[in-house]
Amino acid sequence: MTELDLKIKDEFPVLKNRNIVYLDNAATSQKPKSVIDAVKRYYEYDNANPMRGLYELSIDATKDYEKARQTVADFIHAKKKEEIVFTRNATESLNLIAYSYGMHFLRNGDEIIISIMEHHSNLLPWQIVAKNTGAVVKYLECNEEGEIFPEQLEKMMTKRTRMVCLTQISNLFGRENDIKAFAEVAHRHGAVFVCDGAQSVPHIPVDVQDLDVDFLAFSGHKMYGPMGIGALYGKEELLEQMPPFLYGGEMIEYVTRCGATYAQVPHKFEAGTVNAGGAVGLAEAISFINSYGFDIITQREDELTKLAFTEMQSIPHVEIIGSKDYKEHHGIITFVVEGVHPHDVATIFDAHHVAVRAGHHCVQPLHTHLHKMSTTRMSLGFYNNEEDVTAFLEVLKGLRKEMGYGE
C-alpha cells in the first residue's frame, strides 16, 4: 500500500467503521469526511430557505447554494452557472429533458436515437416521450466489446432524427464512447445531443464545451457527494426555450389568478424548496476530487483495474464482459462465473465482506442483447487499493469450490 492509498482511504469514515472491501462504486461512492462535514456545517451555520428570506441567514444560504452552482459549472466547464440546474440525480435530470424538451418539441414520426447500452434512466424517459408524441426510438447496437461507432450513427440519422441520447461511460462495460464525435454527427444532422454522464463525471475530466453536448446529466452520489443532489447541464439557449418541468414555488416571476410568468433559468426548473445542503456537499465533493486531480484519479483507477483485470483473465470459468483491454474499463469489470448464478456470486462475496453488485444493473435490454440473464460487477474508486483487489481476487478464485464444484 502506498502512502497515497493510506491517506485517501482514511478520509472515508465508512471504510473505517465497517469491515468491508467496497467495490460497488458504480452504484454509489462512499463519502469523504470533508463532504459529510460540509453538509453538517451548512446545517449548523447557514441553514434557511434559500432565495426566499430577506434576512441575513437566508441570504447566506442563498450564497452557499449559488456558489455551489458555480463550482459545478466550473467543474464541467460550462460557460456560466445559469446553465446548471440542480436536480436529485441523473435520472431526474434526464426526465427533465424528456418531459420539458421531448414532450414539447417532438412530433409524430420524429426519431430519437439511443444506444442499446443505455441505463434504464436514459431509456425509459425516451420510450415515454415516444409513446406520448408518436416519435420512435431507434437503437444503436453495440458489438461484444461494447463498442459503438459514430459511422453507425451517421447511417441511422434521417431528416426526422431530433434527438440523440448516449452515455459517456457504460455502467456495464466501463467503456468510454467518443461523445465528441457522436455529438458532431448529431449536430450536423440538426439533432440535439444528450449525454448521460453518471459514470463519466466522477472518473474522467468532462468539458461540455469541448464535447459540445447540448445536455449533460449526472449524480452527486456517484462522485463522493451526498445522495439526493444531482445536476443537469443545458446550453442556455435551449434551457430558455424549454417550458418548466415542475410547477410551484420559487420558479415564477408573477402569478395571477389565471396564470404566471416564469423565473429565469435555471430557477424555472427548480420548483419548490431546493436541496441547498446537498448542493454544498456536492461542491465539497468537487473540491475533494480537485484536491487530487484527475491525473492521479485516473492513474490509480487504471492501475487497480489492470491488476484485477489481468488476474481475472487467468482464472478458469470466469468470463469478462466487454473489452479485452483493461484500459477500456475505467474501473468497471463485469463478469460471469460459469455454473454460478450472479446472485450466488454476490452472496459469497458478501460472506467474505466484499461488496459487489449482481443483477441486470438497470441495463436489461443490454443483457438481452448480450444473451445474458444477469451478471456480476465490481467497480473501483480511486480510494480502493491493491489489498482490496487482492481480497476480491481471492474470493473469486475460490468461488466455484465454495459452490461445490470440485476444483
Partner: protein, 151 residues
C-alpha cells in the same frame, strides 16, 4: 479458503446434482414461477392422486438458492398428502420470516438449512419461489406456464 458461507454441501449438492430436476409423465399440475427481478424461473409439476402427491419434478434456471430449495421441497413433499405439503410449506415460509420453533424446523429436514435466508432479505424471493408456486397450485388449483410471479 474456509467454506464459511451458507452454501454448505447439502445446498450445493441439490444445486449441482438435483434429484428432481427433470420432466415427468402424467403430471396433473404444472405451474411456472418467476422472479422477474433476478430471473429465477422454475416450472413445477406435480402428480396428485387421491390427494396424495405421488410424483413431482421441476425444470428451470436460476440461482442455487431457488433451484436447491425447489429440489429439497420435492424431497420433502413427494409421498405426502396435499394437506401435509401445505402445512410444511407454511412452516417453511414462516422459517424464512424467522418465526418457527425448533420442532417445526426439524420437520423441514434438509430444507431447514435455508433458515439463514431469514437474515438475507435479498435472497428471500429465491428461497420461497418453489414453495410459493406449489402453494398456488395446491391451494388455488392454478396451473399454467408463464404468468405467475413469485412475490
Amino acid at each position: 479458503m474456509a467454506n464459511n458461507t451458507f452454501y454448505n454441501e447439502i445446498l450445493t449438492e441439490h444445486n449441482i446434482h438435483p434429484t428432481h430436476k427433470h420432466e415427468i409423465e402424467g403430471a396433473n399440475f404444472t405451474l411456472e414461477g418467476v422472479n422477474p427481478s433476478c430471473g429465477d424461473d422454475i416450472i413445477l409439476s406435480l402428480k396428485v392422486e387421491d390427494d396424495v402427491i405421488t410424483d413431482g419434478a421441476y425444470v428451470g434456471d436460476g440461482c442455487a438458492v431457488s433451484q436447491a430449495s425447489a429440489d429439497m421441497m420435492l424431497d420433502l413433499v413427494i409421498g405426502r398428502t396435499k394437506e401435509e405439503a401445505l402445512r410444511l410449506s407454511d412452516i417453511f415460509l414462516r422459517m424464512i420470516k424467522g418465526e418457527i420453533t425448533e420442532e417445526e424446523h426439524e420437520e423441514l429436514e434438509e430444507a431447514g438449512i435455508l433458515q439463514d435466508v431469514s437474515h438475507m432479505p435479498a435472497r428471500v424471493k429465491c428461497a420461497v419461489l418453489g414453495w410459493h408456486t406449489m402453494e398456488e397450485m395446491l391451494r388455488e388449483g392454478k396451473t399454467g406456464i408463464t404468468g405467475t410471479e413469485g412475490f
